[in-house]
């Protein structure tokens, strides 16, 4: 395996962790990771050194954003229910962290997870999300405020469908 491929392979566990938290669904998460790997392997010429992990997080974040966009565009007859993870865990029915994450807008969720779960710096998150650092900070602040309100038992804000 080339050095490039080894770099990608080394990032897989972290990508799975991030994708799992981002989608709250194991199968969907691995689907996105697989797409990320396929794209990355195909795009070796687009990678000009630098932090490979940040590059892969960027691909994954964009793929998930596309996925959500497609889902919201497609009329679907799937029954609406909370994610499986939220209804099965030991805290089922309660206000757990998975449900709190569900309530967040996608960009806020991604910013928070990249910082607290993946340990990226604000600057790295700004690069992954393609926005100024100030935007990353306000996403983080809003995410934390909303999670706190949710866990404290306030009524969730109406979820924005976009």
């Amino acid at each position: 395996m080339s050095e490039f491929q080894e770099g990608i392979e080394a990032a897989i566990p972290a990508l799975r962790r991030y994708a799992r938290a981002l989608t709250r669904d194991t199968e969907t998460a691995d689907d996105i990771v697989q797409d990320t790997l396929v794209r990355a392997l195909r795009s070796e010429h687009l990678f000009h050194g630098g932090d490979m992990r940040a590059w892969l997080y960027t691909i994954l974040t964009n793929l998930n954003r596309n996925r959500l966009r497609t889902l919201s565009r497609r009329p679907s007859m799937t029954p609406i229910k909370d994610s499986d993870a939220a209804t099965s865990g030991p805290e089922s029915g309660g206000r757990d962290i998975t449900r709190a994450l569900n309530e967040l807008a996608e960009d806020q969720r991604s910013a928070l997870l990249l910082v607290v779960l993946e340990g990226l710096t604000y600057r790295e998150v700004a690069e992954v999300q393609g926005v100024p650092i100030g935007t990353v900070m306000s996403r983080l602040a809003r995410a934390r405020t909303q999670i706190k309100a949710y866990l404290d038992g306030e009524r969730p804000a109406l979820r924005r469908v976009k």
Partner: protein, 261 residues
């Protein structure tokens, strides 16, 4: 130039929690928190959130990744893309009747577009191939009109492949409801009356290789090209079906220039 007495902002509190503050500012925030208990409670709550997230998802990184994420495999598949498309993956599930499909030998995957399209396409196949008088809505001698009409209803330019070289003539087509909306259905007929159908509708599926599914008497090849999923159905003779699917696949390939109907 930092004024140590300035009010600590929400952003600074966040940056403090995330270890993004320079040392001098960190001390200022700590001093502030000692006297501002509501902010101290906020910081504690945010740290608790981070702990909960790590406790809930951190272990995902310790699991052994499934085979489908194996870089060697993915790389091999990349170089062997053409061979893989032609070899076709045998999907080991049996297509039942209206009940859909049941798994055999391994756990059923969630109903993917592959499963939904293949099930619906085979249902349509079984329903219409036995029709003698009205197998189609628009007959094959009106090919340009048929293709234009179905393209308009499905919402993407379609083409009805020319399979004359395989001894198949276009009987015609019809519009059907499918898993994702309007779906086009083309029917072909061979010299001894055997029929094949091509079912086509929108998908978000990314896969593009030919996928084979076999039922009791009929079978299907599924593939995706661009935003359209195709299912070619016919009698369960794999080699023959594969040759036809391959011919249709080659003609439909987006990269090939569109020719009138």
């Amino acid at each position: 130039m930092i004024d140590r007495d300035q009010i600590v902002s929400e952003d600074e509190l966040n940056a403090y929690v995330d270890g993004e503050l320079p040392a001098d500012r960190r001390n200022a925030v700590e001093a502030w928190l000692a006297t501002h208990l509501d902010d101290a409670a906020k910081v504690a709550a945010w740290r608790k959130q981070a702990e909960l997230i790590r406790a809930r998802y951190g272990a995902a990184a310790d699991e052994k990744p499934p085979q489908r994420l194996d870089v060697r495999r993915l790389t091999r598949r990349r170089y062997g893309a053409i061979a893989a498309a032609i070899a076709a993956t045998v999907a080991a599930f049996v297509v039942g009747g209206a009940a859909g499909w049941t798994a055999r030998g391994f756990e059923a995957p969630p109903p993917s577009d592959l499963a939904r399209f293949t099930t619906d396409a085979l249902d349509a196949y079984r329903l219409y191939v036995v029709e003698v008088r009205h197998p189609v809505e628009v007959s094959g001698d009106q090919r340009p009109h048929l293709v234009e009409w179905l393209s308009k209803r499905v919402g993407s330019p379609l083409r009805a492949p020319e399979l004359d070289k395989m001894g198949l003539k276009l009987v015609g087509g019809r519009l059907l409801p499918g898993p994702t909306g309007a779906t086009a259905f083309f029917m072909y007929e061979g010299p001894s009356g055997e029929r094949f159908t091509l079912y086509c509708g929108h998908t978000t599926d990314q896969a593009s290789a030919l996928r084979y599914t076999v039922g009791e008497q009929n079978a299907a090849y599924y593939w995706v090209d661009g935003n359209l999923a195709y299912v070619l159905s016919g009698p369960a003779e794999r080699d023959k079906l594969h040759a036809i699917a391959q011919a249709a696949y080659d003609q439909i390939d987006r990269r090939a220039p569109l020719q009138g109907g």
